[in-house]
């Protein structure tokens, strides 16, 4: 096994290890956070609404906006003949 291989293996061990440690900590931290908030600052909760998370395909949000606005304009124009 050449040097690059060993480096890669080390990187994998360190990397996956760390990713898991980090996210496991985050799991507990998040759980604790939720409990604390529920305990000390309760609130009329809102149901988890459909995520708008669309990093790579945000277009699917905007065209609607665009469309909606275009519509608004259209109506607006038609109303105010120009």
């Amino acid at each position: 096994m050449n040097e690059l291989m060993s480096q890669a293996v080390e990187l994998m061990i360190a990397g996956m290890g760390f990713v898991f440690v980090f996210l496991v900590i985050l799991v507990f931290a998040t759980g604790a956070m939720s409990k604390i908030i529920a305990r000390f600052a309760p609130e009329p909760a809102t149901p988890a609404k459909t995520p708008r998370a669309k990093p790579k395909a945000p277009a699917s949000v905007d065209p609607d906006t665009a469309a909606a606005i275009k519509k608004a304009i259209a109506q607006f124009r038609s109303r105010h003949k120009k």
Binding site: M1, N2, L4, M5, Q7, A8, V9, L11, M12, A14, G15, M16, F18, V19, F20, V21, F22, L23, V24, I25, L26, V27, A29, T30, G31, M33, S34, I37, A38, A41, P42, E43, A45, T46, P47, A48, K49, T50, P51, R52, A53, K54, P55, K56, A57, P58, A59, V61, D62, T65
Partner: protein, 440 residues
């Protein structure tokens, strides 16, 4: 006649023809097949521009000066340019074809300050940086572009589903095995003597497995800028192909019964939790992984703008005007890395091959992790949501939902899959931080 000797037809090289064809292919995939058009349209177009012969849109002032000096055989000027680049060339010496390669090498090796000196000599002589090179250095060279996109992504991300069921984060962690498995794969190819990679290159290629565009661009710009074009292209291409890549793997690793598992309705999540969560992530970054600070910091910042509810206008700008403007120039900048002489070699094929492996491995690990978790947790998890851990938001989550519906028409997994899906974004940003920490 200058116009003819300066025309593309007269100067075009086969490599440029091929790369221009590749550019058109990307445009075709983006426009007709809907492959991540927001990025692949600018990338494809930028790729074409970068390969216009004689235009040198993706070159530095020095590279442009060298190109024309070699063509015109103006030896004094060549000698002037040779000095800061440590090229052994005296005025008057013959302009051999080898000289061209010598200069190309020298430019690749040149340090920041040597390059700056060569550029200022070229600029004194009236040469300028190419348009795409300017875009690249401002948007990617400074790392600002991917970070602004990541901020916008944060402003578009709803962590509700994740907060409702935090343990699904582990699926997002497992899927990152795709990243490191690919690093191993690259090392293997190198060991077998099929291709040559440095550990930096291997790591940059691995990040494709993160299935997250800005993260891939950020990491490769730091670890292996010369591979950025190929890495970004395959990252976006494979993200678009997730609906083809994942289902077979998901089905192979799960039984009909597992795929039909119904998951309990998610609990409602309070506004306060959503506001505090990005800050919790930020604290974790502060304490454990400073090197992920730029990526996760901007991501959490964007999410806080979204959730805090008092800066609507900033959140709105981060999700629209700002991310759109950045996307346009980021895409063109990535395209500038699709230059024939830098893109057309075996490594690129290796990268394309390894990229799809990365997605496959990540998908598999996510699913297997879900099955593993079912051993220990009372309330069952449908293993199909594990595949969403690779991120590729929101495509992968939709795939989980679709495959779930095939197995059980009453089984809506979308919301449950969004948890691991966004966790995957955090996961690959963490992996990116670790790589940068250990390697750069």
């Amino acid at each position: 006649m200058t116009l003819w000797t300066g025309s593309g037809l007269f100067n075009i090289e086969i490599g440029q023809v091929i790369m221009i064809a590749v550019g058109f292919l990307l445009l075709f995939l983006a426009i007709r097949k809907g492959f991540e058009p927001l990025l692949l349209v600018p990338i494809g177009f930028g790729g074409i521009l970068a390969n216009i012969p004689e235009a040198g849109l993706a070159l530095t002032a020095a590279e442009n000066a060298i190109h024309f000096a070699l063509k015109a055989g103006s030896t004094e000027f060549l000698a002037a340019l040779a000095a800061p680049l440590d090229v052994a060339y005296q005025a008057g010496q013959a302009v051999t074809p080898e000289l061209k390669d010598t200069f190309k090498e020298a430019v690749k090796e040149a340090s920041y300050s040597d390059m700056a000196m060569a550029n200022s000599i070229a600029q004194d002589a009236g040469y300028g940086h190419g348009m795409l090179y300017n875009f690249y250095s401002v948007i990617i060279g400074s790392t600002i572009g991917p970070l602004v996109i990541f901020m916008g992504v944060g402003a578009m991300t709803d962590f509700g589903p994740l907060l409702a069921n935090p343990k699904t984060m582990l699926l997002g962690a497992a899927a990152q095995f795709g990243i490191f498995g690919t690093v191993l794969g690259a090392a293997l190819l190198d060991w077998l003597g099929i291709l040559d990679f440095t550990i930096l290159e291997a790591a940059a290629i691995g990040i494709i497995g993160g299935a997250d565009g800005p993260t891939s661009i950020y990491v490769s710009s730091v670890l292996a800028p010369h591979l950025l074009g190929a890495i970004a292209v395959s990252a976006y291409a494979y993200m678009a192909m997730v609906p083809m890549i994942q289902p077979p793997i998901m089905k192979a690793l799960t039984s009909q019964k597992e795929r039909a598992i119904k998951m309990s309705q998610l609990r409602p999540v309070s506004k306060k939790e959503k506001i505090v969560f990005p800050l919790v992530v930020l604290i974790a970054v502060v304490l454990f992984l400073p090197d992920a600070a730029p990526l996760l910091g901007m991501f959490c910042f964007g999410n806080l703008l979204r959730e805090c509810g008092v800066v609507e206008r900033l959140s709105d700008t981060a999700q629209n005007a700002l991310i759109n403007i950045t996307t346009i120039f980021l895409g063109l900048s990535v395209g500038s890395k699709l230059m024939a002489d830098k893109f057309l070699d075996a490594q690129t094929l290796g990268i394309l091959g390894l990229g799809i492996v990365a997605f496959g491995v990540g998908t598999a690990c996510g699913v297997l992790m879900a099955k593993l978790m079912n051993r220990f947790t009372k309330e069952a998890i449908n293993p199909l949501i594990g595949s969403a851990g690779v991120s590729a938001v929101p495509m992968a989550a939709r795939v989980s939902n679709k495959v779930g519906l095939e197995a059980n028409p009453q089984n809506f997994l979308l919301m449950h899959a969004m948890g691991p899906n966004v966790a995957g974004v955090i996961g690959s940003a963490v992996a990116a931080g670790v790589m940068i920490k250990l390697l750069s």
